[in-house]
């Protein structure tokens, strides 16, 4: 007879929290391949240790509130309790017998020595939770691969800070960026992907067959990795830029635009982001000046047309920003006409910088091939120079960077990672 008792959220307090014995609780879901491999190990150890520990199983999907309370994201997750409180380590994903046994012995012995850090083993480890990473997660999790997304912030990437997305197919053309990514996140989680956001990533090691990722709390192990770390706004690297960050220098119009009600602002850049955010800023500012070093915009024609017919927007082509000036806050900029090399001052209350992106690939330097600009080089199936390691989205060397292309990359990378794993019988 099984020594593991099945309980619901209602019985949790009386059975687990008020238990005299330490308790091991396994959160599982039906139709979860990892659970079917971990559960027999859990059952076996339950019979072995049943006199000293209580073993309980909770259906994660039928007990949402309880799972949420203990931050259970993956099936299966084993949490230990002693005197009504969480104790020692939490084990997520594939858990082998020696490991589980060691923690059980620690909990019974009222110590916690054998695992100093949390450990998560998965099939596909995705770094970065923007559209590329979340799409990979949707595809991989739906293929019943145990998939974990690790992000150093909240998931969403650059799209999260885009006010409105006009060109994502299948939407009404006015969807908010944050809603779009939240939908993707929910879809990934519904298929069973685990999302570990807010992680401080320390290092990666792609040298072995099993790739490793270390965060401040957890060691992740996976046979295949998808890098979807994206890019961050590029800086002008001019005088005053750092001094006045947040004090008139901004990189997110949707965040900080509202402070420039009835003010004069400058937008630097000529791509889609610069043009669209300049239009957005006219909601607040009385005048927006777009400063661009070339003699034409590279943004989509329809955005350009909208920009041109907006009476609050002035355009300065062939113009570069040389310095940002002010005292406590920005009061003006030094501009230069790059045809005549003539420099002049202009008063402004704020400057919004949209001059492209910097790929986030520093972590992988020396482990995979990266080009001179920091972009990761892949083959046509998005595999990097290391087998089993794929790259998707803005961090990859390519010509076009759109939400749609990130999503395309994400699906290709996940399918190819699945094929790569199939060779190992996963």
């Amino acid at each position: 007879m099984s020594k593991v008792i099945e309980i619901s959220g209602k019985e949790f307090e009386s059975t687990v929290l008020n238990s005299g014995l330490p308790v091991a609780v396994i959160f599982y879901s039906n139709d979860c391949p990892i659970c079917s491999s971990v559960m027999p190990v859990f059952e076996r150890l339950a019979s072995e240790f049943c006199e000293k520990m209580l073993f309980v199983r909770v259906n994660k999907d039928q007990n949402h509130e309880l799972s949420k309370k203990y931050h259970i994201k993956a099936s299966s997750t084993i949490v230990f309790f002693r005197n009504g409180k969480e104790f020692c380590k939490t084990l997520s994903g594939y858990t082998r017998r020696p490991e589980l046994k060691c923690v059980i012995e620690d909990v019974i012995g009222n110590k916690c020595e054998c695992l100093e850090r949390n450990k998560t083993e998965c099939d596909v480890l995705i770094l970065g939770g923007g559209p590329a990473g979340l799409t990979s997660a949707i595809y991989a999790a739906r293929s019943k691969l145990f998939t974990v997304v690790v992000d150093d912030s909240m998931v969403g990437g650059q799209v999260a800070s885009t006010y409105q997305v006009a060109n994502y197919p299948g939407t009404n053309g006015v969807i908010r960026g944050i809603d779009l990514v939240n939908n993707m996140k929910k879809q990934a989680m519904d298929f069973g992907a685990q999302i570990d956001d807010m992680q401080d990533v320390i290092q990666v090691d792609f040298s072995g067959e099993i790739k490793k990722l270390q965060t401040n709390k957890t060691d992740y192990y996976a046979r295949s990795v998808i890098i979807a770390t994206g890019a961050t706004p590029r800086k002008l690297n001019i005088e005053g830029e750092e001094t006045f960050a947040g004090k008139g220098v901004h990189y997110c119009a949707t965040c900080d635009g509202a402070f420039y009600y009835d003010a004069n602002v400058i937008v630097v850049g000529g791509g889609d982001a610069a043009v669209e955010e300049a239009i957005f800023l006219t909601r607040f500012a009385k005048k927006v000046t777009v400063v661009h070093r070339r003699d034409h915009f590279t943004a989509t024609k329809s955005s350009q047309e909208e920009l041109l017919k907006n009476p609050s927007i002035e355009i300065l082509f062939n113009t570069e920003v040389k310095a940002i000036n002010g005292k406590d806050f920005v009061t003006g900029v030094t501009l230069m006409d790059n045809k005549t090399n003539e420099a002049y001052e202009m008063d402004t209350d704020g400057i919004f910088i949209y001059i492209g992106m910097q790929p986030q690939s520093n972590l992988f330097k020396g482990q995979i091939e990266i080009d001179d600009y920091g972009y990761i080089i892949t083959d046509e199936n998005l595999q990097t120079s290391v087998k089993g390691v794929f790259a998707a989205g803005d961090v990859r060397r390519k010509e076009v960077r759109q939400i749609t292309t990130a999503v395309g990359d994400g699906s290709v990378a996940a399918i190819m990672a699945g094929r790569f794993l199939a060779a190992y019988g996963v």
């Binding site: 999260a160 004090k247 949707t254 965040c255 635009g257 509202a258 406590d328």
Partner: protein, 76 residues
């Protein structure tokens, strides 16, 4: 503990910061600085800058969604 979040409705990091506090069951006052110029000035005075979100936890000012700093202050 008194927590105030100065935010704008279109700012995703503000949404993230507020979600994070709610997740930790920390009650807070949500100030929409785009709708309230007086409170916007108050925020600029407290933080010395104009970027949102600004989080005031018992007089300690956090600029941006700095999770580790939030953790530090709410765990005190």
């Amino acid at each position: 503990m008194k927590v105030t979040v100065y935010s704008t409705p279109t700012c995703p990091y503000c949404v993230m910061a507020k979600d994070y506090l709610s997740e930790k069951n920390i009650p807070f006052e949500d100030v929409d600085v785009s709708a309230d110029p007086a409170r916007a000035r108050e925020m600029i005075q407290k933080s010395g800058q104009r970027g949102v979100p600004v989080i005031d936890i018992d007089g300690n000012i956090i600029i941006g969604f700095d999770r580790s700093r939030i953790d530090e202050l709410i765990n005190q």
